[in-house]
Symmetry: C2
Subunit: 438 residues, 2 copies
Amino acid sequence: MLVNFSGRAHNHNFATDFIVRSLLDTDWYKLAMLQFIWRHFRDVKVRFSLINRTRSVKLARIIDEAELRRQLDNVRSLRLKRSEAVWLQGNTFYGQRGIFRPEFVAWLADDFALPDYRLSEEDGQWRLDFEGSWAMTTMWEIYALSVINELKTRAALASMTETELDILYARAKVRLWDKIERLRPLHDLSLSDFGTRRRHSFLWQEYVVETMAAELGPRFIGTSNTHLAMKHDLEAIGTNAHELPTTVAALARTDGELRVAQYDVLRLWQETYGGSMLVFLPDTFGSTQFLRDAPDWVADWTGMRVDSKQPVAAGEEYIAWLERHGRDPREKRVLFSDGLDVEDIVTLHQTFGGRIRDGYGWGTLLTSDFRNCHPRNGQGLDPLSLVCKVTAVEVDGAWKGAVKLSDNYEKATGPASEVARYRAIFGTEGVANVPVLV
Amino acid sequence: MLVNFSGRAHNHNFATDFIVRSLLDTDWYKLAMLQFIWRHFRDVKVRFSLINRTRSVKLARIIDEAELRRQLDNVRSLRLKRSEAVWLQGNTFYGQRGIFRPEFVAWLADDFALPDYRLSEEDGQWRLDFEGSWAMTTMWEIYALSVINELKTRAALASMTETELDILYARAKVRLWDKIERLRPLHDLSLSDFGTRRRHSFLWQEYVVETMAAELGPRFIGTSNTHLAMKHDLEAIGTNAHELPTTVAALARTDGELRVAQYDVLRLWQETYGGSMLVFLPDTFGSTQFLRDAPDWVADWTGMRVDSKQPVAAGEEYIAWLERHGRDPREKRVLFSDGLDVEDIVTLHQTFGGRIRDGYGWGTLLTSDFRNCHPRNGQGLDPLSLVCKVTAVEVDGAWKGAVKLSDNYEKATGPASEVARYRAIFGTEGVANVPVLV
């Protein structure tokens, strides 16, 4: 019998396994946004906060404080590796070389440091806040989410026997394979992994990404995970997120400035980047008002990402809007990214394929779909609706609540009075009430 | 990263992996029968032949001759290990110590040697025969079957990628677990592994047996595989097989001797063994005639094994026969062992539980159920109906065809003229025509 002594011994050390081992183990769009923030807003002070929308799961009773601190402290100790800096500068992203400027990469390697975190328990939940300059603080989002999610996974795995673990992963693999088989016939599919923040574990995400890449060929266009993209020679995929309009809107001093903040962000973004990176996310304050009031140049952008609106409605709304603006939808891209599962992808592709370039950013239900895989029907591996959002912005030395309205009332965040003020300005046209699952 | 260098290198040597590595890697009843044969019939000459009832699968096109010879030669080179000899003598089987006599174990360790094999190709099938003294030749049956089955498995695996192999085993594990979940609620179940001869591979059988033992607790009473029983401290399970009445009947010189041969075997068996080992297999020449003509003392035996008759009919026939003979069925055991799958077990247990002690010897569909597990819908891992039977017995220096009639016309074996003679003597009452799947 061949015994892997070091492997076996290492398994006993599992508790000290670090979850995040590279600063690049984050969504690529965080790096694109980081350079944007670093160039235009580096001194803005913000607060990011962890929000568990699945209130029934009491994370503070599941995840040990000492272990959580050890993992977060480890993240703070990470520095950009030389090979990573070289890759960021030398690699092409969306076909462009030099997306990341040498000065930015040098800053990231030499000066970047995550601010400290603030951790306390509240009503069975971990209250976790990060405060500091936007350029330093923003990066906490993905690290914090993948740490919490993987610690929750480890807690669930800890009560399982070796056989149960074996069956758990066998079931999850069979499910993944069934999904792949369902997607294989869609020859012109354009799918990418967006599952870093909600992943079951780093190793599982890596397994899923490698399997999808091997089995789906060109239908699988890449991963949002920068580390995995570098490690496995995949395309790094990403656009931009709500934190840009949310933060810039909070900086607005008048209702007039607030109204145009979402377009100011786009104008700055296209000064910073071009081409395929010009994909807007319209739903921060409601997609319908965004499209209705958008300046005509927004219709020149490459595409739109759908995140909180019912996806068929959102796609149709975008197509109609493009046609009203005299643009050909077949030359534009719509990227669906909200809680997709395989049947959603198949249906949306049937609905939009050929009419517009449809793409899919597959997150939670790609990298964390262990529903009903537990051999004793445990729920501990079901995905959470866990987010880490910018919740406050410092304006004139005082904290001001940051607001996201979204296309779904359930996804709105911010202090009630500010939400009301924003709703008065942006309206509620096209906003719906849909339960948030993941 | 921790690399298991020796394990990785060993994987490249897979082609020279030996399938059978212990003389005890066989059904325990072969050893019980071997001692019986050694005591009473050691000089009888027999021929065993491989018969692939799944004619559509051309084994000679799948399995390489050189590799088959290497595996069979390896089996011939095996000798009983000292630890195995000690265990055979010192262990209790069915609660009895000393089932194997010291002289027998000494003979097995010192004098036992498998005769050479005869291998040729015929119509895309491997023709494989073994000839010699019954005591030496009988042991080839299980080794030959597990070698052929595992080489067929390896041939199918050879065309698969690492991902496909991963999915294949994940699916098979999920199926095994589903079967376990289906059986778990049957608290008074009495199930054992009978799957050595048809196993997918040695390692898979070992995985299945360990998982069943861990998960089903006392519902899983043991395995027919002697090596696994010794290695994992499980009960070795087994009764006796058709080869006893088949061979003894072939030795009969008159129709009168032929008619009683099946009971002569039982009389000798109970002189040799007692207690729980007194389970008869009635279907060699048809179960209905066996029970009809059986002497009353046969009803004192502990139980009956059902192998080729529709199992509900066979169980009911046994119960009615016991009642006619004034025996209480609730004190007797019926052991079902013919091509069972999990739903058969559940149904039979519902039908017979409480009325008689029902037991299940689960073979092919426990250790080789990879149907529809192949990721590209390949059929190469579907189980075969492959047997290795005594086909001829030397009588007065001439070979005489051995006959099995069974309760299913499709399972009858032997030269047509001899089959006709046996049918004239034993009749066909209660014999049916059912397709043989495994």
